[in-house]
C-alpha cells in the first residue's frame, strides 16, 4: 500500500509526476514544477523506478530516431 506521505511528496501524486516527466520532453518545467517533481522523485520509490525507466526509454528512443545523445 502506498505510504500517504509518498502519495503527495512534493505536493503532487505519482500520476502528476509522470505527467511532468513526459511534459519535460516538450517544454521546460517552471521552478515550481521542477521542485515538486524533484521532491517527489526523491521520496517516492515507485516514481524513482518509473523515472529510471523513462530515462532509459527516452535514450533508446532518441537513438532509434537518430538523434544525437543529449548532453547532461
Amino acid at each position: 500500500m502506498t505510504d500517504p506521505s509518498d502519495l503527495l511528496a512534493g505536493g503532487i501524486r505519482c500520476h502528476d509526476a509522470a505527467w511532468l516527466v513526459c511534459d519535460a520532453r516538450d517544454r521546460s518545467l517552471d521552478d515550481t514544477e521542477r521542485h515538486a517533481l524533484d521532491t517527489h522523485l526523491a521520496r517516492c520509490p515507485h516514481c524513482k523506478v518509473a523515472g529510471q525507466q523513462f530515462t532509459t526509454l527516452f535514450s533508446l528512443l532518441d537513438e532509434y530516431l537518430g538523434k544525437p545523445p543529449v548532453r547532461e
Binding site: R13, A18, C22, H46, L60, L65, G66
Partner: protein, 186 residues
C-alpha cells in the same frame, strides 16, 4: 534501382519508420526513395561521425518535414476513432488516488547485460508499432520530426490540451511495453 550495399541494408527500416510517420505507404515509399537518392549522392561526404542509420534517419526526417511544410500534406490524421478519455491500458497504471500500481512498474534496470543494444532498439520499434497508428504519427511528429507542439496542433487541428494527452499516453504506453519486454528476458 540498385542501391549501394551500405544504404540498401537500411532500406526496410527507413520504410517502416516512414510508414509509421506518414501513415501512407505510397508517400512513405516516395520519401524513402528521395532519402536514398540524396544519401547515394552524398555518400562520399558521409564522415562516419554518426552511425549510417542515424545519418539516413536524419535525411528522411528532412524529406518528411519538407512534405509537410511545402503543404504537400501527408495523408491527413484522423483522430475521430480515438476517444481521448479512453484508457488504452493507461487506467490500469495508476490507482484511483493517483499512485503507481506497483505491479505495472516492472523492473527498474534495463537488462543491458542480457540484451544487446540492437535488441533493445528492436524492442523500442516493436513497441512503437504497437501504438495505435494515428496517435503514433502524432507522437513521431514531436519525437522524430522535432516539430513544436504548437506546430503539430496547427497541423492536426488538435487543441493543445488534447495533443498533450496524446503525447503523454504514447509515452506511458511505450514505457509499459518496453519494460514488459525487459521483464520477459529475465
Amino acid at each position: 534501382m540498385e542501391w549501394p550495399a551500405e544504404l540498401a541494408t537500411h532500406r526496410d527500416f527507413l520504410r517502416r519508420l516512414a510508414v509509421m510517420q506518414m501513415g501512407n505507404p505510397f508517400e512513405a515509399d516516395d520519401a524513402v526513395q528521395e532519402t536514398l537518392i540524396a544519401a547515394a549522392l552524398g555518400l562520399r561526404g558521409y564522415s562516419g561521425a554518426v552511425p549510417m542509420r542515424a545519418w539516413l534517419v536524419g535525411i528522411l526526417r528532412h524529406k518528411i518535414v519538407d512534405v509537410i511544410r511545402s503543404r504537400r500534406r501527408m495523408t491527413s490524421i484522423d483522430m475521430s476513432g480515438y476517444e481521448l478519455d479512453e484508457h488504452l491500458g493507461i487506467g490500469d497504471m495508476f490507482s484511483a488516488d493517483g499512485a503507481w500500481q506497483p505491479e505495472t512498474l516492472g523492473i527498474a534496470e534495463c537488462p543491458a547485460d542480457t540484451l544487446g543494444r540492437q535488441q533493445l532498439l528492436d524492442l523500442v520499434e516493436l513497441c512503437m508499432q504497437a501504438l495505435p497508428p494515428e496517435p503514433a504519427r502524432i507522437f513521431l511528429m514531436r519525437e522524430y520530426l522535432g516539430m513544436e507542439t504548437s506546430e503539430i496542433a496547427a497541423e492536426t487541428e488538435l487543441s493543445p490540451g488534447n495533443l498533450r494527452v496524446i503525447l503523454h499516453r504514447a509515452r506511458l504506453r511505450l514505457r509499459a511495453c518496453v519494460v514488459r519486454g525487459w521483464g520477459e528476458t529475465r
